[in-house]
Symmetry: C2
């Protein structure tokens, strides 16, 4: 699945006419990410018995948005990160203005890819764009990033940290799963939404643990949370209680997988991989 | 028309949950712009005999995109402007990270407003998003901004300057007019597209003249083009030939207005106002 996604991403990169912009976007987009969001989207579609290969061009819109958010988050005035996916961040390699514009282009093009799709009818396309823009806009991912920036050096209650993680990370995972369900003509997307919420939280809390326990070499990015004194699950609950909390979330995921009757699916295999990831 | 647009923008601002983000977006969005793009969109609709008041929530998506582009263009790593619409730019007033995120939110929310509209059917909504994202994405407005940044201190041929102005400025004007035509169920949008292209060029070349002839107090923003040694029509052609060129464009606009049978419309009155603007 990952190879097919990477091929579609390469095709997208070739569609960019301005050479400097194309190079910059290529640098970030083809830097070897895990492609979790597009894969989740395609796996949901597969679980409904549809052919995921038909929807790859929609799937990559999720990777475009994810990559834009990383590029902007890494900027000097934001997290000021210099390493991402084991390489210098985009603004280090191509300059800050190009990094801002590359992010803007990826965000805008994400909606272009969906709206210009030839395989979906307008009704579905509109619903996809509605979900994606809602989950990533002012009351979604951007709000999460605002909360994140405001959290520096602050002792947050766990409730607020959860809200921040929901907006920052869960929202785009929710969008990936719910969009897969919408394409599959599923009318009730609530369980998918719940699954995305918990999976995003889990992912973010795993990051907190990894940041605490692994070296920069292995995680492939700067330990900016520690450096900037941002609250994490580990800083609030300690390592052991955080690990207990992760187990609780894994338990909740299993319950939803059961309700969705997904134990035999490759989607569940992927989720197990995420649960057991080591970087 | 402007008051109705401002009311809709205020309603949008109130929908933003995070207080810091809301304040920042309010600061930029309600700073008293001319609202040319949403007004053009609504005037096209009016010229087809439809009620423009029904489409105000779509109209403001154009002002959101326009404002996002101004906020990001003003950033220190871009044009590094400190004054906009007679006030300190957003990054001066609220910090750079908030300015970047406010721009990202406006861009994303623009697509949310269109996709969640209750008055349009999905077919129209999808077409609007397709046009808007195409005109503002990697091969549209963003490409214009890339060309603009690369033009600093460079002597461009007029052809390249035209391309830059087309992408940077005409594209969103084209989108405004074409989107108005799409909402009005017009199948042939070519004349609208041509009109937007020339109107955008005219607007940008007028800016070149104003930057040359007016003080910062009157134009309400820094003379960054001069400071940064960017090519302009005036720097390439000189003031007199530039004014001749403006007359030629006005002439072409009149021809299109004639073809569209718009001489009696309030849209034409607005275009005349743009032609004769003094700041």
């Amino acid at each position: 699945m990952k190879n097919i996604i990477n091929d579609a991403l390469k095709k997208y990169v070739l569609s960019i006419n301005n050479p400097s912009l194309r190079d910059a976007i290529k640098y970030s987009l083809l830097a070897g990410g895990k492609r979790i969001r597009p894969i989740l989207f395609l796996e949901v579609i597969k679980s409904y018995g549809l052919n995921p290969l038909d929807y790859v061009d929609i799937a990559i819109s999720l990777e475009l948005i994810h990559t834009y958010s990383l590029i902007h988050d890494d900027l000097p005035s934001m997290d000021n990160d210099s390493i991402r996916r084991g390489k210098p961040t985009l603004h280090i390699a191509y300059g800050e203005s190009t990094a801002i514009l590359a992010g803007d282009a990826l965000l805008t093009d994400s909606f272009r890819l969906i709206s210009s799709s030839l395989i979906l009818d307008s009704n579905i396309k509109t619903k996809l764009i509605e979900v994606l823009s809602e989950k990533t806009g002012s009351n979604g991912m951007i709000m999460g990033q605002m909360l994140d920036l405001a959290s520096e050096g602050v002792e947050l209650p766990l409730f607020d940290l959860d809200q921040m993680y929901e907006k920052k990370t869960s929202n785009l995972i929710v969008a990936s799963l719910v969009m897969g369900a919408i394409v599959s003509d599923e009318k009730n997307t609530q369980l998918w939404s719940n699954l995305g919420f918990i999976l995003g939280l889990l992912f973010q809390i795993q990051d907190d643990v990894l940041e605490e326990t692994l070296s920069v070499d292995i995680i492939g990015k700067t330990k900016s949370d520690t450096i900037r004194k941002k609250p994490t699950y580990v800083s609030i609950l300690g390592l052991n209680e955080t690990k207990m909390h992760i187990l609780k979330l894994e338990n909740e995921i299993t319950k939803i997988i059961n309700k969705l009757k997904l134990f035999d699916s490759s989607l569940y295999q992927l989720i197990l991989k995420i649960i057991n990831r080591s970087n």
